[in-house]
């Protein structure tokens, strides 16, 4: 803890102060209380691109062209100007400093999508170790796709989705992987999870989890596909025995039934074993099974995989639900289940319903581990969550105590599992132990919000009620009286006191403001 609030005193104190073990980053972060992005340049004249995100190491700003076909990458720099004379602080910035290219230099513009394909501007994943970026392009979605073998009904189809691996340093497209007549949930990068160098892509239409590895050279290599088969050689095994069982298989195909997929078989056998072991008395076991397992058998068989994430290199957390449950907002009619699957042993380790209090207690205590931060990334380990921050935990407990029905509360919390990769900004200005801010107006989660007229205040935690800085997303003069709906989004640099606020109003040009420390 620093003894003084003064920046110079803190710098001197830092020379002799030893932080608590393992908490040196937390101590150094206190300097962000002194260095705040309090100066704003309103409505800066910038190229008309849709700015997506700063990469987590702060090296690049990723943006897409308005026609969703080009990728433009900028390098964030800092403006520099000199001022002759005394009392420079009171001088306002020179006009030529208030330009977009004082803060950003364009590195390159690369075309990713062609003809009828468009870049999904919600999708971007960054591999920090090699500075690779993963982007996705897709053709328009079609809702009445013909049912093909292996595809489940009720899920829309996209003619072609292509993932591109781009080296952000120079814009070279290193590799690409295409999925045809498939559906991957690209919104907010929800259908894909990146952990270290492993990528898992949830193909909803064919109910397959594709595991890929990103090599150092930039190749996207298939590791395994989990769905119909669990092990890599399952398909070979079945095909080699197909001739022997040909008669049987033919018969089954004509009857309209077929084997359940590998992952489904693993799931059902796990549930069976679990329920079998619940009842100690052998005579009552069958009854217990009938009630708990066979009665719901068809419901279990009809479950489909919705979302998946890595827990570590060998374990996946898979969310199962009913076919129409994925798009429904309410969690009541459509129960969801979570399964932990070990890719190496192909066994299901755990299975919970979304109302499980046991799963909720793990969620409350170990939320940081659900985020599966790799050891390589430094700043992502310090994103405030209710598992590492007392204030966030307080907020969670407040909501829990106010909830009428604990089961509803648990289900609501479980909608955030499996976690979406790289969905939160690592900026220290969102650190809840440093600042207090209105989470409805701004938060670490990168998403669009309704804009408010009033500036968003960041108030210091440790000196209560002391306003540190404000972010006013609107134009300088205030909004017009017509009050059209405005959407704001905020892009914070991961470690510099620097942020962009982007305001989009229907039928009006986008306004971009820059907030920085002078």
């Amino acid at each position: 803890m620093f003894r003084s609030n003064n920046l110079a005193a803190r710098v001197f104190e830092r020379q002799i102060l030893t932080p608590r073990p393992g908490a040196s980053v937390n101590l150094v972060r206190h300097f962000y209380e002194n260095l705040v992005p309090s100066c704003t340049i309103y409505d800066i004249d910038c190229p008309d691109h849709s700015f997506r995100k700063f990469t987590d190491d702060g090296q690049y700003l990723v943006s897409f062209s308005r026609n969703h076909q080009d990728l433009i990458v900028y390098r964030p720099t800092w403006l520099s100007f000199s001022c002759k004379g005394e009392d420079c602080d009171s001088h306002s910035l020179p006009q030529k400093a208030k330009r977009f290219d004082s803060f950003f230099t364009q590195l390159y513009c690369v075309s990713l999508a062609s003809s009828n394909e468009f870049i999904c501007k919600d999708f971007f994943l960054y591999m920090e170790t090699h500075q690779f970026g993963l982007f996705a392009t897709s053709t328009p979605q079609s809702h009445d796709a013909p049912t093909t073998e292996g595809a489940i009904e009720g899920v829309p189809s996209i003619e072609k989705i292509t993932f591109y691996l781009v080296r952000l340093e120079d814009g070279v497209i290193l590799d690409e992987k295409a999925f045809c007549n498939d559906f991957v949930n690209l919104a907010q990068s929800m259908g894909v999870f990146l952990y270290e160098d492993l990528l898992c892509i949830m193909s909803l239409r064919y109910q397959t989890i594709h595991i890929l590895q990103i090599w150092d050279s930039g190749y996207l290599v298939d590791v395994r596909n989990i769905g119909i088969f669990c092990r890599e050689d399952d398909e070979l095994f079945i095909n080699s025995h197909a001739q022997v069982a040909n008669g049987v298989l033919q018969h089954q195909v004509t009857q309209g039934t077929s084997f359940l997929s590998g992952i489904k078989q693993r799931l059902l056998s796990f549930i069976f074993c679990k329920i079998w072991n619940e009842e100690a008395d052998p005579t009552l076991r069958v009854q217990h099974l009938k009630k708990k397992f066979y009665f719901h058998f068809q419901d279990y068989v009809d479950l489909i995989m919705w979302k998946v994430q890595f827990l570590d290199r060998h374990h996946l957390l898979i969310k199962f639900g009913s076919v129409d449950g994925g798009v429904a907002r309410s969690t009541d009619q459509h129960p969801a289940f979570f399964a932990v699957y070990n890719m190496e042993t192909t066994e299901i380790v755990a299975f919970y319903q979304n109302s499980s209090e046991e799963l909720y207690s793990l969620f409350e205590q170990f939320y940081d581990h659900f985020h599966a931060n790799s050891r390589n990334s430094l700043h992502t380990s310090f994103i405030s969550s209710h598992s590492n921050n007392m204030h966030a935990l307080d907020q969670l407990w407040c909501i829990k105590n106010k909830a009428n029905n604990i089961s509803q509360f648990v289900k609501k919390m479980m909608t955030s599992l499996p976690c979406t990769c790289q969905s939160q900004s690592p900026s220290p200005y969102f650190d809840l132990s440093l600042f207090r801010y209105d989470e409805k107006l701004i938060s670490a989660a990168v998403r669009h919000r309704h804009s408010s007229e009033h500036p968003i205040k960041f108030i210091s935690r440790r000196q209560p009620n002391m306003l540190k800085f404000k972010i006013k997303p609107g134009p300088e003069a205030g909004g017009s009286d017509g009050r059209p709906k405005r959407i704001s989004s905020f892009l914070f640099h991961p470690y510099l006191p620097f942020a962009l606020s982007i305001q989009q109003t229907y039928m009006q040009p986008t306004v971009v403001n820059i907030h920085f420390r002078r």
């Binding site: 679990k274 072991n277 008395d281 570590d312 380790v349 755990a350 793990l362 170990f366």
Partner: protein, 101 residues
């Protein structure tokens, strides 16, 4: 007395100034605090012990632990009748019935 480390800068020069040798005739410069030597070997590690980091993170370990508890078949009802804790003495009148290891 002077600092043990000579004249190096220290946070508080009076630290370690209370250290007095048990034997008054001992040289002050050879002053060292008494170190502990164990008199038994009960706490020695086994000779083939290797300490390494647990490969699984705590969350995955919790999942395995909880599912192992559930999958371990429970004892059949007849087993509960045999006194498992026969070596324990029943508590007095004011004790409650809970038994724990």
């Amino acid at each position: 007395m002077g600092s043990l480390l000579g004249d190096w800068p220290s946070y508080d020069p009076h630290n370690f100034s209370q250290l007095r040798p048990a034997d008054p005739s001992a040289q002050p410069s050879k002053l060292t605090p008494v170190t502990y030597h164990p008199t038994h070997n009960r706490t020695l590690p086994p000779p083939d012990q290797v300490i390494s980091t647990e490969a699984r993170n705590i969350l995955v370990r919790q999942f395995y632990q909880k599912s192992e508890e559930k999958l371990r078949p429970k004892r059949a009802a007849s087993d509960h009748l045999t006194p498992d804790h026969g070596y324990k003495q029943p508590k007095g009148a004011f004790g409650d019935g809970s038994s724990s290891n």
